[in-house]
Amino acid sequence: MNFFEHQDQARRNTTRLVVLFGVAIASMILAFYIVAVCIYFYSTPNALMEYGGDQTISAIALMWQPGLFMMVAAGTVGFVGLGSAYKVFQLRGGGRVVAQSMGAVLVNIQTDDEDLRRLLNIVEEMAIASGVPVPPVYVMDESGINAFAAGFTMNDAIICVTRGCLEDLTRDELQGVIAHEFSHILNGDMRLNLHIVGILHGILIIHLLGRSCLRGGRYIRRKGAAQTFLIGLALTTIGGVGFLCGRLIKSAVSRQREFLADASAVQFTRNPHGISNALRKIDTHDWGSRLKTAKAEEASHMFFGSIGRKSFSHPFATHPPLSERIRRLESLNKNPEWMSQLRQIDPRPRKPIGVAIAEGAAGFSAASRSSPPPGSAVNHAPSPSPSTSDEIQVNPEEVIPAIGTTAPEHLVYAKRLLDQLSLPIQQSIRYAQGAKALIYALLLDSEHADVRDRQLQHLKQTETIDTVNTIQQARADAALLDPRMRLPLVDLAIPALRDLPIQELSRFFKQIQALVRADGRLSLSEYTLQVVLQQRLQPYVNSSKVNQTTIKHTTVESAWNDCLTVLSGLAQVGHTTADEVNYAFRSGLYRLPNARQHGIPDTPLKPSLHEVGASLKQLAQASPCVKKAYVDACAHTVLVDKTVTLREAELLRAIVISLGCPIPPFLDTAHGVS
């Protein structure tokens, strides 16, 4: 299964959960109704008398009191709805809210503490390697070994670990745990988890209401105390049972996702020992993975390990038993075939093509100087063919399976990238003003001096002298950077930018827009940089829009014209002659299912950048499966020609990211990074 299928499954699971919870609520209504009828007849003996004489009314008819039923149903649904709505409203801020409610503390990115620095480095590497923004990292003051990730999208996700994690785990083990949490971020589990919290809270409310009724009933010595007691008892019991059912459902879903996340952690790091040793440490640790704070209960399913007593197999456990998880990881380790399968996530059977080429059926290609086999391009095989540093080998077929995953090669790449950063840049991405200046510097035109002068002029008019100096300095530093550094640098700067107050953030965006427009001809790569930045920081600018669930397009057809626009725009980048543009356009377009059934223009459209931007926004609102087709088409359009320049490859990455799909960096295969 690839990223898109996991996302789809997570969404389907949400629907299934809602249905199951609906069933739970319906049974609760029925139970409440029966109790209510009993109380009704108990408290008004006359009612029974009235019917008593009339033999024609059967017992069943007697039980059916529509008015009462409506009241009970409305009451139950109302309370559950209110409870859920309250929680959902509370959670709308995304992952931050969850972490803060549990008393976790945000780690300062400028920290000098050795353990914290190590943790931040691991998270940064993992984020760069998988193409998601560096998440804020929180630490909980607990001695147990545990961790969780929370959020709705990758842009508002947070990662939280306990102090026990920092103190007792080695770097490899911690990396395994973090990779596990990243899998939750990438596979859409976090969103599902937050939905579960919301719905469960609604049911819990009923139970809590009953408890307070019971407590209140004790002090009321008036008439009606008995009824209050009975109602309270009913609410407590039925609410409790409902809550347990909810827990059961939540556990069933969560356990499966834990296995998936464990396996993904191995895939990301290709080191089964890291995570399995971490699990073993939990097993032998005094505290295990237990947490002291009671607040963690409602989020128990989000954690790395069970937060209660040492988990053993029972239906309410949110996590599979440790021994089972370790056993599965070990069987992965012993089974090299499975390990290699983990690597080759490409569902398309690759061998036949290789065979076909080897047999010469596909032409003369492979018989000539051994060009790398199709399929290994994104991976790591160092290509024997000489290639200038401006070119990169990316096979369009490899883009889809790479999305939402990462691999050790990417981790190594990320680590090297971070090590190579010059000291001034390393310092400037750690504080808000420096990060701001760096982003401005990245947007300064490096080719046309006149454009750059205009941009600098604008900055001088609007910013303080100090800021302009910092920007000038940052520009000097940034000029030495590889073009591939642009997106990772943006991601690295995000944590510092999040610290900016909201007003300054919106001013920051206005400035970016001004800079991007300064050259009069907006280039697509600058534009996408802007889009990526906006997406990354969106949850921090406008917290009410974090939970963007709207899916407008469930078929490729419904955004057909937007596809044409985007693909036309992309085809015109890096392809000069009309023939080439047309070829690139068609190569991408026919990747879309049912493309033949649509009217296809003879020549690509000539959209303005704004039209492309608007269309991209439309495409971003498609369901995961449809998005897969879009990303595939974009990849085939951009990567169609034999030489893919770094600029084109980076543009593709930015486009894919702006569609909401995390994609690991393209590796420099020619120089064999691995």
């Binding site: 047999e359 596909a362 003369f364 018989a367 000539s368 020609d641």
Partner: protein, 199 residues
């Protein structure tokens, strides 16, 4: 009376069942047919690219190979045949005759190109020519793409054919004239041996 109603009800239910099977089968056949026709469009894009590159290649080679007129003409000839075979195939993807013709034409083209490249071996100047190198690389990557696209097409065709042959959709396929589709294969025997080219 009740028995008659029940009977009518069962009949009605049966009709609804049969109708839904027919509609479902028909729709999935159409979907699968669209899918393989679309997959052929992907091949078409790449094949056209290949045909567009060949005249450039021949132009480049001409300057160096003054005495190999025959080979060059054979390439051009094979290309022209392939172009018209492809034009036919695009109209009716999956049609057995069109697919066979295209397969054969492509095989002949690959073969004649192979001979051209084998000849080019003995022209060191040509081997050093930059345009030639670029064209070779471009052709090579197009061939890879053709291979990918062809596999996707063949997969789609196989899926469609299987659907067409299994019960109950075989009845529906018969009723509505869903013909069998043909895989695209380069079938000419002379190209089974890989033409040796080394640049």
């Amino acid at each position: 009376m009740a028995a008659l109603l029940l009977f009518l009800f069962i009949i009605f239910g049966f009709i609804v069942l049969v109708a839904s099977i027919v509609i479902g089968g028909y729709n999935s056949l159409v979907t699968l047919r669209n899918r393989y026709q679309n997959a052929f469009a992907q091949i078409d894009v790449q094949l056209r690219r290949r045909y567009d590159l060949i005249p450039n290649l021949v132009e480049t080679v001409k300057g160096y190979m003054k005495h190999e007129r025959e080979t060059l003409e054979a390439v051009i000839q094979a290309r022209n045949v392939a172009v018209s075979a492809n034009a036919q195939a695009v109209q009716t993807p999956g049609d057995p005759q069109a697919m066979d013709q295209l397969g054969a034409a492509e095989a002949a083209l690959t073969g004649s190109l192979g001979r051209l490249f084998a000849l080019a071996e003995s022209y060191p100047d040509l081997k050093a020519d930059r345009t030639m190198g670029d064209l070779m690389e471009e052709l090579r990557s197009t061939e890879n793409k053709i291979a990918f696209a062809r596999q996707a097409f063949n997969d789609a065709v196989t899926l469609y054919n299987t659907k067409r042959e299994v019960f109950p959709s075989n009845l529906i396929a018969g009723m509505f004239n869903f013909g069998s589709a043909q895989l695209l294969e380069e079938s000419a025997p002379e190209v089974k041996a890989a033409p040796r080219v080394s640049f």
